[in-house]
């Protein structure tokens, strides 16, 4: 209920002697007036900052080195000081956007000063310093904005490291796990955990592909996050790390259907001993965890952690696992009457069918026949599934 609505209604409640005036005031306290958010002011601050920066940038070459240094240092300090003042006395929002601008100037300054004074970087260390400043700001101010800034800088830095140096920059990875991971653990914020997961998977991809490790190490990465989810979730909250791990592994399986063809799987199984050791430990943990869980159905998700590349014709095997996965969720969804599971199963089933169709029919069918038959197949499938889903919903409503 909105405050305004409550304000009117409760007046009437008092008149009718349902509640007393004191109770009314107490109730209203629970619906505080929405704070006026000065969006325009934030934009004004950002525009002034940007205008200043572009002005400096266009006149950059006319400035002597010390002049550039002065411009960078003065503008950065000015934005920090102004931001802190405004944050404390006027508006947290405008204040933090001013401080964010200062943080951006700091990042630009690292690169510009580095260029001015001929520093050559052999790693993504400028990004490490920059993201440390952002993390520090979060720790001091506890403003979500700086958590996101830190996550973005860390992730971009890692991608940069992968692209430019073909190398995973360990310190950025550690800052994500130890720094931002700690923040997620402490705050239990769903949004923080989601952003963490995105950065985690991007970094895992950089680590595996720039290091030239076999792709199956990604399975370990997502399993670790799947299990770590228990550390950060509270009762009744969406299990975002678990979900992200499942989605990620579904994507991996989806790709496996296409590239785990003949011959490739064999090259992968060499030197996979360490993988299987770690995998076994994590898998046992995950099984124990799902056995302890109150719903007896979460073990279905564990199907996606099966290392199918180990088996001959892993592409076909991936396809079978995905079909089993989809059907199991569909069946248990209908049995237990959980609509979420039915939806999940339906989506998985459609995607798997699509992949199967592409994999099996692409090579020997005429292209137009291929798309035509595929369209028909999807049409029939979605009709059947939708019909089942509707009848299921009706039953649910009748009960």
């Amino acid at each position: 209920m909105k405050r305004n609505q409550l304000l009117k209604e409760s007046e009437w409640w008092v008149e009718e002697a349902i509640i007393t005036e004191a109770q009314r005031e107490k109730l209203l306290e629970h619906y505080p007036e929405k704070q006026y958010k000065p969006v325009l002011l934030t934009f004004a601050a950002l525009f002034i900052g940007l205008g200043f920066l572009t002005f400096t940038a266009s006149n950059w070459s006319y400035l002597a080195d010390w002049g550039r240094m002065a411009v960078l240092l003065l503008s950065m300090s000015a934005f920090y000081v102004a931001g802190e003042r405004v944050y404390k006395k006027k508006s947290a929002r405008v204040g933090s956007s001013l401080i964010l601008t200062a943080l951006l100037i700091f990042g630009a300054a690292i690169f510009l000063v580095g260029q001015m004074y001929h520093y050559t970087a052999f790693s993504a260390s400028p990004f490490l310093l920059w993201s440390m400043a952002a993390t520090g700001l979060y720790v001091v101010m506890r403003e979500g904005l700086f958590y996101y800034a830190a996550a973005v800088i860390i992730t971009v830095g890692q991608i940069y490291s992968g692209l430019v140096f073909q190398d995973f920059y360990l310190w950025l990875g550690l800052l994500l796990l130890g720094g931002l991971g700690w923040v997620v653990y402490e705050t239990r914020s769903l949004a923080f955990a989601g952003v963490f997961a995105v950065s985690y998977y991007i970094q895992a991809l950089v680590l595996v592909f720039s290091g030239g490790y076999p792709y199956y190490w990604l399975i370990i990465g997502s399993m670790a996050l799947y299990i770590a989810d228990d550390l950060i979730t509270q009762k009744g909250q969406t299990r975002i790390w678990k979900t992200s791990a499942v989605v990620f592994m579904f994507a991996v399986f989806f790709l496996q259907i296409f590239f785990l063809g003949d011959g490739y799987a064999e090259t992968l199984t060499e030197s996979s001993l360490y993988f299987f050791l770690i995998w076994a430990v994590l898998f046992v943990l995950a099984v124990v965890r799902s056995a302890l869980s109150t719903t007896n159905y979460y073990w279905i998700d564990l199907l996606l952690f099966i290392p199918v590349f180990r088996f001959p014709s892993g592409d076909l095997f991936s396809l079978i696992v995905l079909f089993i996965y989809a059907v199991l969720w569909l069946v248990s969804g209908y049995q237990q009457e959980v609509r979420r599971w039915v939806n999940k199963g339906t989506a998985a089933f459609l995607l798997t069918t699509l992949a199967a169709y592409f994999q099996l029919a692409w090579d020997f069918m005429d292209r137009s026949v291929f798309f035509f038959v595929g369209g028909l197949l999807l049409f029939v499938l979605s009709y059947g599934l939708e019909k089942k889903r509707r009848s299921f919903r009706r039953e649910g409503e009748e009960q």
Partner: protein, 166 residues
């Protein structure tokens, strides 16, 4: 928000940038001077308005001076061992991924690996000093292909800069 911590963090950032600059000026006092010969660079006109594009002889490492089997990845850190000849010009002794011990009259210069020219058996590296900023519109005096001597200074903390171009 703890004000003291906030300003501590801001000061640390300012200090860091100042140190970056200070290190550059301190190099003149504590750094080692090294004279290098330029090599012709790829662009026909090495002059870009306000800077000259420079290449160095030592950036082309012949196969026999390459201490390693195979080539590292692009962007990987490599080291060059240089030694002064009678005229005081530094020439390449050997290069590889491991840091060399230098004797008197020798310096170790870190560089970034670029690519291998397998036909000519040359490893191309980048010492990161390929731009020399000159005053605007004086660049026409830099002729292509002319050999020049560049004096650089090398700090113990691996920073380096160009001092003069003759």
């Amino acid at each position: 928000m703890k004000q003291r911590w906030f300003y501590g963090l801001v000061s640390a950032q300012i200090l860091f940038l100042l140190l970056m600059a200070a290190a550059y000026y301190a190099m003149d006092m504590v750094g080692e001077k090294v004279v290098l010969k330029t090599a012709p660079v790829d662009p026909r006109d090495p002059f870009y308005g306000d800077y000259v594009e420079l290449g160095y002889e030592i950036e082309e490492v012949p196969g026999e001076q390459w201490e390693e089997q195979g080539a590292p990845d692009r962007g990987e850190k490599v080291f060059l061992l240089l030694e002064a000849d009678e005229e005081g010009i530094y020439e390449l002794q050997k290069a590889g991924s491991e840091r060399f011990d230098s004797e008197k009259g020798q310096v170790v210069l870190p560089a970034r690996y670029l690519w291998e020219d397998e036909r000519a058996s040359i490893h191309h590296v980048d010492i990161g000093l390929n731009r020399y900023y000159v005053e605007e519109n004086t660049g026409k005096m830099w002729e292509q292909g002319e050999e020049r001597l560049v004096t650089i200074v090398l700090a113990p903390w691996n920073q380096k800069k160009i001092v003069t171009l003759e």
